[in-house]
Every structure is written in structure tokens, then in C-alpha cells.
Symmetry: C2
DNA sequence: TTGACTTAGTCTTATTTCAAGACCTACTTG
DNA sequence: CAAGTAGGTCTTGAAATAAGACTAAGTCAA
């Protein structure tokens, strides 16, 4: 399968990966969550090739994850901001960061901490069930076909 | 910057991306969370080139995300299972799936639902603060340098 | 009013990675 | 003994990436 065909799969993960699944997208978004907004700042902080960055930002804008906003009229200059849809990727990024903290932080500890303004503490993210509020263990989750499933699509895979 | 140098960055996300940041890793892991374990099953379900799959599985095994376990001695056959470290990526995957469900499900709804065995309900994942238990809004989070930060690394970026 | 600087890109070239599918090896089953 | 199964490797051409030079439009200071 080619990468461009991924969004035609009937799978929410595949469709999400078609938008943010390339090598750089999540790193670009990490910077966006750290309030980086301008082309040269993304480029310098990530060390990404400029051509690739330009294409990636365009792609994220086209998919509504970022928006390109003029912050100066004369001269005309644009910056990139997270949309609501983009903000919705925060759980993905913070989960990856905390996974990295857990397994790859050096002796001294993680390079970056996150403080929850509401309660004032540094936190780790905890994934919980929207229905009962308990922390989620993957072994406690049973996937099963939903309303958008195609006939026979999950046969022999998920009904257990 | 080259992709292989990413894990030398002092950033937990960059280090995580060095392990699971290529185009296929998270899709392979999605299948693993759906109890797929064998080479040919991964290959058929993902439509990934066999050479790329072999390399990717090897990489994930080397990084301790999957383990290669013999499930038959005669003939000798191996399968790939999630390790504890691999299970730790569940929040990343389920968050991406729910983001995809939210923004890319068709009219009929998501193709796959997830039932929490503990409470018996289909759920969405909710990211909460480990300290106060409230749902996390990215606008309520203030990143700041941690013990593993390098001197001056975050100057002008995160202290707000 | 020229020369240095800023911002947001585009373009070129060499290298790396990926897609598709044929092929290989060891064993099993009919 | 022939066909099938499982888990790969190999080859070829196409696509994506890395690095950095270059461009365009405007600003600022002398």
C-alpha cells in the first residue's frame, strides 16, 4: 500500500496517521504546543530541511490542524497556530512525551516538566475511561465492531 | 538533522519518535494491540512491504517494544508480542484512534468501538492529571525545565 | 540610497527510504 | 512427492528527505 492511500482505509488510526503520521508532524506540533509559531523558529529548533517544513506546514494547514494567520500586514507575514482540531492532539503528544520520560530520560530525570495550572502540581498524564473514570489498562479493553464497520471487516479479529 | 540522530536530542518526544516515529510503527502496534502476532498477519492486514515490515519489527524488538518469542519448536516459528514497555504506548494509540474517530469517522460512526471490561461500557479516552484527577486542557498546562534540562536549553521558550 | 538584515519561503542535488513482488529455506500435510 | 505454510530476504524503480544555496519583498541605519 502506498502512504497516500492510507486515508482511504476504514480505520480511524490510519486516517489520523495520514495527517500526522510522517516523520516530522508530531515534532512540529510539539513545538506548536510550546508556543512556536513562525517558520524560521520551527526550522531552527527542529533542524528540519526547509523544503520539508514548508510542505509539512502546508499539509497540516490543509487538514485543519494548524491555521496560517497574518500577524503583520506591512510587510505581510504569516504564522502558524493550532486550531481546536490541533489542540485535540494534545493527548497524543503528552502521552508520547511521558512514555519517553519513562523509558529514555537520563539519570537526572526528564528535560521538561509539565505543571497543571488548575492544581499547581507537576503531573504525569493518566488515561481514564470516560464512563467510569478509572485508569485504563489495555488488557481491560475489548475492541468490537462499531456502526461504521464494513461487513465482515473484523471477522476473526476482535470479537474474542 | 538526520532521522537517526533524533535520539541524541535532549527531548523525550524526539527519543520516543526515534523508536515509533516512522510511517509504520504505530500501525504495526495498533495490530499488536488487536492481538496480531505473526509476520504474515501483520503483512496482510497492513499491506506493508515485507522488507519494510521485517526491518520495522526488528527495530521495535531491539528497542524493547515488542519481543520475538518462539511459539513452535518444530518447525521453529516466532511471533511478536507487546512487552510492558510496548503496552505503555496504549495511551498514544487510543488517543490517536479517538482523534481520528472525532474528525474522520463517516456518517455512520467509528468503525471500531472499545469496551472497558471493568465497567462494561464503550468509552472514549480522557486524559487526566495524575495529581488532581481533572481532565487536562492544553491551555492549562505550563511546561517548565526539569532536572534533566541542559543549561539555557529552554531560555525564552517555556517559562512564560 | 546603499548595504546589511529579516522573514518566509523555493530550488537543486545527493542520499535514504519505501513499494511491489519475486524468490528462498525449512518444515508439514495429503 | 507435490503443494502448502511460515517467516523471512533480494531486487528494482519510485518517492521522500537532508543540506544548504538562492529568491523576493520589505526594513532599518548611516
Amino acid at each position: 500500500m502506498k502512504w497516500q492511500e492510507l486515508d482511504r482505509e476504514n480505520c480511524s488510526l490510519a486516517r489520523a496517521m495520514a495527517v500526522v503520521g510522517d516523520r516530522w508532524a508530531l515534532l512540529v506540533l510539539r513545538e506548536a504546543f510550546l508556543r512556536v509559531r513562525r517558520f524560521d523558529d520551527f526550522q531552527e529548533r527542529l533542524g528540519i530541511a526547509r523544503r520539508v517544513l514548508a510542505e509539512r506546514l502546508k499539509h497540516l494547514v490543509e487538514h485543519g490542524v494548524l491555521e496560517r494567520v497574518a500577524y503583520s500586514q506591512v510587510p505581510l507575514r504569516y504564522e502558524y497556530r493550532l486550531t481546536e482540531k490541533g489542540l485535540g492532539l494534545y493527548p497524543v503528544i503528552i502521552s508520547l512525551v511521558h512514555w519517553g520520560d519513562t523509558h529514555y530520560a537520563g539519570k537526572k530525570g526528564p528535560p521538561l516538566l509539565h505543571r497543571h495550572k488548575a492544581c499547581g502540581h507537576d503531573f504525569r498524564s493518566v488515561l481514564t475511561c470516560s464512563e467510569c473514570g478509572e485508569a485504563l489498562d489495555p488488557r481491560e479493553v475489548m475492541p468490537h465492531p462499531g456502526p461504521g464497520a464494513r461487513k465482515g471487516e473484523w471477522d476473526g479479529r476482535v470479537t474474542e
